[in-house]
């Protein structure tokens, strides 16, 4: 039986043999070759068209997929999203026990704000606040677990971890930057006429938690549960406005880099012992130098210089000179 799929090869082979034999090529041979050539040419054109069409379809499908995944990514923490897309994280009910640092924040008097503000303004305010805070969280490598109205829950140590100590330090550094950034958000909204100041309370705890995909086979939520989560939430509710309250477990991880003051103890449901708390005061001076931070608080002067954030040094020098001129 002739192999249909090697028909062209056999025609080529026959042609070669005729050429090699140096016999005169008859018109019928030439006609046969011409017919095969016309057929091949037609096939080639058809295959090119098919290939082009497939490529076009693929480009359209890719663009759709890219657009869809961009939209989808906004519903996930980038850490979780990346783990899902690289296949590191399975899409099934799966949890593990891990040492994590959990962060909670909440806006003071937010309920009053919701009653006072028009929904559109409230949406704009909340979007602005959450966007600014999320940017900071992602820069420090936090996994944004969820937003609950104005509250934010973030954890460090999963899916990616830089080590228990680094995770705890990064979480506290993130919270400190959030406090600074909130001052800017507050000023913007004050200029817009917001009568109530925006103040946030923040709480951080480091402890063993259960993290992973919770839920049903049809609807999963990548989150963290355990007493440690409740404790971080309690620390947040006990924090003073625009301050960060951390547990002793977090303090023990960050004390060499973060300056903290001993605070009161709190009782937490599910924890049999009183929990010692610490208030975050700032970076240790050698750390501040390393990051180009200078902070001075004296009556009549509040000065924070963060060199890592400077975009235009000449402008900073000009502003400082203007202030100095005022004191002349």
């Amino acid at each position: 039986m002739t192999d249909l799929l090697s028909h062209e090869e056999s025609i080529i082979e026959q042609g070669k043999q005729r050429v090699d034999s140096e016999e005169e090529i008859e018109a019928r041979h030439y006609a046969e070759l011409l017919k095969a050539y016309i057929k091949l040419n037609k096939e080639q054109n058809r295959l090119i068209r098919l290939s082009d069409k497939s490529q076009k379809k693929l480009s359209v499908a890719n663009a759709k997929l890219a657009n869809f995944s961009t939209k989808l990514s906004k519903y996930f923490s980038p850490e979780v999203y990346n783990s899902l897309f690289t296949g590191e994280l399975d899409v099934k009910v799966q949890t593990q026990r891990k040492l994590l640092t959990i962060f909670f924040s909440d806006l003071e008097g937010f309920t009053e704000l919701t009653e006072r503000l028009e929904p559109e303004v409230l949406t704009e305010l909340l979007t602005h606040y959450l966007t600014e805070m999320s940017k900071i969280a992602l820069r420090w490598g936090g996994t944004i677990d969820k937003y609950i109205g104005d509250a934010i829950m973030i954890f460090f140590g999963d899916p990616a971890s830089k080590g228990e100590k680094a995770d705890a330090v990064n979480c506290v550094r993130m919270a400190m930057e959030m406090v600074d950034q909130l001052a800017e958000v507050r000023a913007i909204w004050k200029d817009k006429g917001l009568a109530l100041p925006l103040n946030a309370r923040m709480g951080i705890h480091t402890g063993i938690c259960t993290v992973g995909n919770f839920g049903s086979e049809n609807r999963l939520d990548y989150t963290v549960i355990g007493n440690g989560v409740n404790l971080a939430s309690r620390l947040e509710s006990n924090a003073k406005p625009n301050s960060i309250l951390i547990s002793e477990d977090t303090y023990l991880h960050v004390r060499s880099e973060i300056n903290c003051s001993k605070n009161n103890t709190i009782k937490v449901k599910g924890v049999s012992y009183p929990v010692q708390t610490y208030k975050v005061e700032g970076l240790m001076m050698d750390q501040a130098d390393q990051f180009g931070l200078t902070e001075h608080q004296i009556p009549g002067l509040s000065l924070i210089l963060d060199q890592s954030k400077i975009e235009n040094r000449a402008l900073v020098r000009k502003k400082i000179k203007e202030v100095l001129d005022l004191l002349e």
Binding site: D3, L5, S51, S54
Partner: protein, 128 residues
């Protein structure tokens, strides 16, 4: 001849050849890793069928939703073979395509140009 019944896989189409009823079906997607290997026994069975003495009308149904270049090459060979069969008996070819799939419609039109001895029908279908 024994009927041929090959279930569809992710990359190969469903093949159903009912030789006694002279009905041949190709359905689904076709992008096998080795097209020649997959299609060789299929083409051979049609070639063998074409050599029997039956004069019964035969129907070839194509309900493909996607095929790659090497499958397209095989399809062209197949149409050549079917068309040759049409010199001696009535051959009907049905090319089904989804009403929104202009690529499959165009390829049906394209393939029909090569057919001289068979009835080539382009048939659109919807999701309903």
């Amino acid at each position: 001849m024994d009927n041929l019944d090959i279930s569809a896989t992710e990359t190969t189409p469903e093949i159903k050849f009912d030789f006694s009823n002279h009905h041949f079906l190709f359905g689904g997607e076709s992008y096998p890793e080795h097209s020649d290997e997959f299609y060789r026994p299929i083409l051979e069975s049609i070639q063998q069928y074409s050599q029997n003495d039956s004069n019964e009308p035969a129907t070839f149904v194509f309900k493909l939703t996607y095929f790659n270049s090497s499958s397209a090459r095989v399809l062209m060979k197949l149409f050549e073979l079917i068309d040759e069969m049409g010199e001696n008996r009535e051959i009907n070819i049905e090319w089904h395509y989804h009403e929104e799939d202009d690529t499959m419609e165009e390829f049906g039109e394209d393939f029909s140009d090569d057919i001289e001895n068979a009835n080539f029908k382009l048939m659109s279908y919807s999701d309903d």
